[in-house]
């Protein structure tokens, strides 16, 4: 046996997962990673190109952030692995001493599909910035992620829209399983790093089963549920989440990719998901929309001209403590800094939501918490969509 393969057999993933409490399917846990502990359920803000838009890492620390996302495709382009290696990885490069998770770059298969050709070898992209070609193979994804040095790396998956044809979904599902071996083989870290596999299979439970079986056998330190949040019906969405969390190993973290609506975070936490990421919180803030306990709030300068209340009366974020709707709405589309204040509010809102869910799990009061949150969010039980009721019922939570 050649030395490289012997090394692979000896991989001991630097991740400790401790479940501290449960409420039926929901769990409150601590993931211990190379850059510290992460309490779950957790929302992970996205710093695509090495920064959270408009928010400094110091502010992220003050908000209590324990783990951030970086995007392999973008970081591989700029600054590139030569620079990342020069700085001994992304943590040192960007000045963030807590945990980082990187996606595999596979998401670009969906978001940049017109620019991509997917083959068994990998995905060939055309750079949207300079038109150059970039071949992202499982090996290349691992090479970049090893340079980044993320605490959690994602294996390259063949991402497809959940509404694709069955043939395409099946192809993606099998290819993702084949690629995981190439990822493990290519993993060549200079520092402790973990590799999560991504369950694919669209909205077809039998395909998900094939994917689950293939990945779980690799005994990875954690697993992600991919291929959702692509425009599928909510009824289908939650059922696939529930299906996957039901079959994923209880003793390992589960990460639902690209999901960030507050109500989705609550429902899926109840269904047993531990980790979430999404750009929605910061993206929607840039368009003047914020989260409140009573649902979404869009800032409207004319209507809010005289409104001296904060964005959310119950919120203690730095934005709500200091500023009124009148002031913030007057700045909309005039001062970029105002969007950052809204981003901070939205990130804080999701951090608070996840902390409260965790506390409710630990104290055995998740049902009461979820009920109160849902009824306030939808303004009464009569407005709660069926999918929420059904999903929560699956998690042994009723709204009555």
């Amino acid at each position: 046996m050649e030395p490289r393969k012997r090394a692979k057999l000896a991989i001991k993933w630097p991740l400790k997962f401790t479940i501290e409490g449960r409420y039926h399917r929901a769990r409150a846990s601590t993931i211990t990673l190379p850059h510290g502990e992460v309490q779950t359920p957790v929302y992970m803000p996205v710093g695509t190109k090495g920064a959270i838009k408009g928010v400094t890492f110091q502010q992220m620390r003050e908000l209590g952030c324990q783990i951030l996302l970086g995007n392999t495709y973008h970081l591989g382009n700029y600054p590139g692995t030569e620079v990342l290696d020069n700085f001994s990885g992304l943590h040192n490069f960007e000045g963030w001493d807590r945990n980082i998770l990187t996606d595999s770059g596979g998401f670009q298969m969906v978001s940049l599909l017109k620019l991509a050709q997917i083959t068994e070898e990998g995905v060939e992209f055309e750079s949207p910035t300079d038109g150059s070609r970039m071949l992202l193979t499982p090996e290349e994804s691992m090479r970049i992620q090893n340079s980044i040095g993320a605490d959690i790396m994602m294996a390259l998956d063949d991402v497809t829209n959940p509404l694709s044809t069955k043939e395409r979904l099946e192809e993606a599902c099998h290819r993702t399983t084949r690629w995981i071996d190439r990822c493990i083989l290519a993993h060549n870290p200079s520092k402790p790093q973990n590799l999560f596999g991504i369950v694919q299979g669209g909205l077809d439970a039998s395909l998900r089963d094939i994917s689950l079986e293939g990945l779980i056998s690799k005994n990875l330190p954690g697993y992600a549920i991919g291929g959702l949040a692509g425009g599928e019906a909510k009824e289908d969405f939650w059922k696939i989440v529930a299906h996957c969390t039901n079959k994923l190993p209880w003793e390992k973290p589960r990460y639902l990719m690209g999901v960030g609506y507050p109500i989705d975070l609550l429902v899926c936490s109840c269904l047993g998901v531990d980790m979430f990421d999404c750009v929605f919180a910061t993206r929607t803030a840039r368009f003047g929309q914020v989260f409140t306990k009573k649902g979404f709030l869009r800032l409207r300068p004319e209507e809010m001209k005289s409104d001296l209340s904060p964005l959310d009366e119950s919120c203690n974020c730095p934005t709500c403590i200091k500023y009124t709707k009148s002031f913030l709405s007057s700045l909309l589309h005039k001062e970029q800094t105002a969007c950052h204040l809204l981003s901070i509010h939205n990130i804080y809102f999701l951090f608070t939501l996840m902390r409260e869910i965790r506390e409710a799990i630990l104290s055995g009061e998740l049902e009461e918490y979820a009920r109160n949150f849902v009824l306030e969010w939808f303004n009464g039980v009569e407005n709660v969509p069926n999918w929420v009721k059904e999903a929560l019922a699956e998690a042994s939570i009723t709204l009555n």
């Binding site: 190109k49 090495g50 920064a51 959270i52 838009k53 408009g54 928010v55 400094t56 890492f57 110091q58 502010q59 973008h74 700029y78 600054p79 620079v83 020069n86 700085f87 040192n92 490069f93 960007e94 000045g95 001209k305 005289s306 001296l308 730095p318 200091k322 500023y323 009124t324 009148s326 002031f327 007057s330 700045l331 005039k334 001062e335 970029q336 800094t337 105002a338 950052h340 204040l341 901070i344």
Partner: protein, 353 residues
């Protein structure tokens, strides 16, 4: 001695969690919604009630925000939002109601590039308008005599002398535009210095607030400085390269123009560079981030790069003014400008090659 950092609408550019001790607020952005200040003060409204608030009549960073006067010294017209005419009564009503800490008397802004007629008229009218403002001011407000006179040094000195006789809380050298810096500005400072001759009340220098101008003005009795320069540099991807160690003695060099040391972080040479923007700088940016990272953020057009530069630049300016205040306390302001120029602005000092 302190800096009034620029804000247009209440937030400094790029920085969403500033803790500046003194901030500008530009009247044109709040004037049309002034009914709200019946319920809440302007500093509270913009969340700076713990800082010193200073009203400006124009928004210096908005090129459309001219402040024009006429032959009669009873009103001005502000360019934004829509050439708003404001009388003295309306202005003082707004100022009193808004409860800002400090405001200038109403005056047109005669820049250093305006003609002789307007320069002279602005000085005379500013004095008349100051008298009217004084009659209408609330006791809590610190009202500053707005020294005008454009580029006419006699008018500037005359205006300063006349205002010195009034019961004002201080003075502001008005009419300094964004691009105005250097020798002509120093002559204006000199003229006002002569006019006020040793007055101990606060004196504010309007304008961009560049380091050299601030150092020169401090040597000539100015105690407060408007400054938007840290943010202008940050927008361009530049960092102030002032390590601010002790100044050295030098000859008088007031009439020369000098280079203010800056690092242009857009330069590819920074891509691989580790370490702080300025060695030993204690700002958050320098303590936590590499030059290479800031280059990267600018390269991919992430505003975080401008934010980190704004944090650094404003920190350096704060430190500069602290140094000046200390020098003043120790009676060492006499040669501070020459020292500063010699130390930093002769091209001999550079941390980066």
């Amino acid at each position: 001695m302190d800096i009034f950092f620029y804000t247009g609408r209440g937030l400094p550019p790029f920085i969403s969690n500033s803790s500046f001790k003194a901030l500008q607020l530009a009247l044109p952005h709040f004037y049309s919604n002034q009914e709200i200040f019946d319920k809440i003060s302007l500093p509270e409204y913009v969340g700076i009630q713990d800082s010193l608030s200073y009203l400006t009549i124009r928004d210096i960073m908005n090129p459309r925000c001219h402040v024009l006067g006429g032959a009669k010294p009873d009103s001005i017209t502000v360019g934004i939002p829509n050439n708003q005419k404001i009388t003295i009564e309306e202005y003082m009503s707004f100022v009193n109601k808004s409860k800002v800490d400090i405001a200038p008397s109403l005056s047109e802004e005669a820049s250093l590039s305006c003609g002789n007629h307007r320069s002279k008229r602005s000085a005379k009218n500013a004095i008349v308008m100051l008298d009217s403002c004084l009659e209408l001011k609330s006791p809590a407000l610190k009202l500053l005599g707005n020294i005008q006179g454009g580029k006419d040094m006699e008018s500037r000195e005359f205006c300063a002398k006349e205002m010195k006789k009034r019961c004002v809380d201080g003075f502001v050298i008005g009419g300094i535009d964004l691009e105005e810096s250097g020798a002509q500005l120093r002559r204006v400072v000199g003229a006002v210095y002569n006019g006020l001759s040793g007055d101990s009340r606060m004196i504010v220098l309007s304008g961009p607030g560049r380091p050299l101008d601030i150092v020169y003005a401090a040597q000539h009795g100015i105690t407060f400085f408007e400054s938007c320069w840290p943010f202008i540099l940050a927008e361009k991807g530049k960092a102030l390269d002032l390590p601010l160690v002790n100044f050295e003695d030098a000859e008088n060099i007031e009439d020369m123009d000098f280079y203010e040391p800056e690092l242009d972080l857009n330069d590819e040479k920074f891509a691989m560079q580790k370490g702080a923007l300025v060695e030993n700088c204690e700002c958050l940016t320098c303590k936590q981030h590499h030059r290479g990272y800031i280059y990267h953020l600018l390269r991919v057009k992430e505003m975080g790069g401008n934010t980190l530069l704004a944090i650094h630049n404003s920190f350096v300016m704060k430190k500069l003014v602290e140094k000046l205040a200390k020098a003043k306390e120790e009676g060492k302001l006499g040669s501070v400008y020459a020292d500063f120029v010699n130390k930093y602005c002769m091209g001999s000092f550079s941390t980066i090659n």
